[in-house]
Symmetry: C2
Subunit: 198 residues, 2 copies
DNA sequence: TCATAGGAACCGACCGGTCGGTCTTGTTTA
DNA sequence: TAAACAAGACCGACCGGTCGGTTCCTATGA
């Protein structure tokens, strides 16, 4: 049983996360979150200003975790293709592990369309990733791992692949070995970018 | 002003479509749809059993339109690469034209996760498209346009690209010439698949 | 060591408002 | 005139959020 302030907060957050991922933001009531977390509504509103604010906090945490895992993946890689392959593995891991709450991803995306506050917080990281990939590919070209291709277009393609794969995996999680498919896909992409194809 | 039964139905449908795309399914009330369409609630429930059923009908219409436009695109193409390029153009057109209601796409996807009825209706076309792409690519390989690659993986990659691009375009519609980017992206993919790369 | 004060954590009945959906009544049309 | 269509007042359920009150923890001081 949670005792400290932070414990209770996290307990509520984790339960809300699970419920939002499973049933969606709108369909999940505050009462349901409270019931699931074993706290009262009073406790809930003691810790969070609103349901919406809790959602924003989940989004921030989620983005921060993404940042951290990507950053560590790139640091360990010697060259650009390896870095990209590692990132693909990370995405594959996200698909596989249920605690990553892939359901939240579509939920965030859908709400980002309507909610200016969510949009604001999400669009910035998105642009950053795009620019980041762009630079990474530019670097790959410089280092001779890739042929001359538009870094921007390649970056958008990479992002699309990751996004689209996440969406497909969520839609029909059972049929595919998504990890394998993702690895193969990135392989295909890298082939397309490679300088010295046979 | 609508006169016939079908006119009124379509009038309500088109208004609901617009509102759902802009504000989301949950946030759009039946009363709002009625106000926007200029009909009463009585009229609404005379034509539709429920809000949910209207949503399902929108989904069906949307999928049927997708089917039709894809089918005609492929028929006109002489070889597989051309067909794929045409499809990319179609997706690009969908991004550009506001009446296609891209917002509905994420809405459908998000609800497909939770709602068994929506899932059921959407997953089948999805599998069909995947199989269809798979066969198309297999055909491309046979005809010597593509090198030996896994048709399944390539099909998933193509689907991912389309999905991911739609999502990105919806997220930041202004910054990119998405049509151009999509064309370039598919070009890159076809390069990756091409047999006789220089 | 213990009495006590005060605030943080927590409780849950309750409120205003909204929503999807119903129902009665009136109107148009064939 | 019967059937289809449309109107909009109305209903009950539910939802996010509030509020007055209780419990628990800890710090203080004598």
């Amino acid at each position: 049983m949670p005792r400290s302030r932070e414990d209770t907060r996290q307990h509520i957050l984790r339960n809300a996360e699970r419920l939002f991922a499973a049933g969606g933001y709108d369909a999940t009531g505050v009462a349901e979150i409270c019931r699931s977390a074993g706290v009262s509504k009073g406790a809930f509103y003691h810790h969070f200003a609103s349901k919406h604010e809790l959602f924003l906090e989940l989004l921030d945490t989620w983005l921060a975790a993404l940042d951290a895992s990507f950053a560590s993946a790139v640091q360990q890689a010697a060259d650009v293709p390896t870095a990209l392959r590692r990132m693909a593995d990370l995405v594959a891991e996200g698909i596989r592990r249920p605690e990553v709450r892939l359901g939240l991803f579509v939920e965030f995306w859908a709400h980002a369309q309507r909610d200016p506050l969510i949009w604001e917080r999400a669009v910035d990281p998105y642009r950053r990733y795009l620019t980041y990939f762009e630079r990474l590919i530019g670097q790959g070209i410089e280092q001779g791992d890739f042929r001359q291709a538009s870094p921007r277009v390649s970056a958008v393609l990479l992002t699309s692949t990751a996004l689209g794969m996440l969406m497909q995996a969520q839609f029909v999680p059972e049929d595919e070995e998504w990890g394998e498919t993702l690895r193969a896909t990135v392989g295909l992409l890298l082939d397309g970018l490679r300088e010295d194809r046979q």
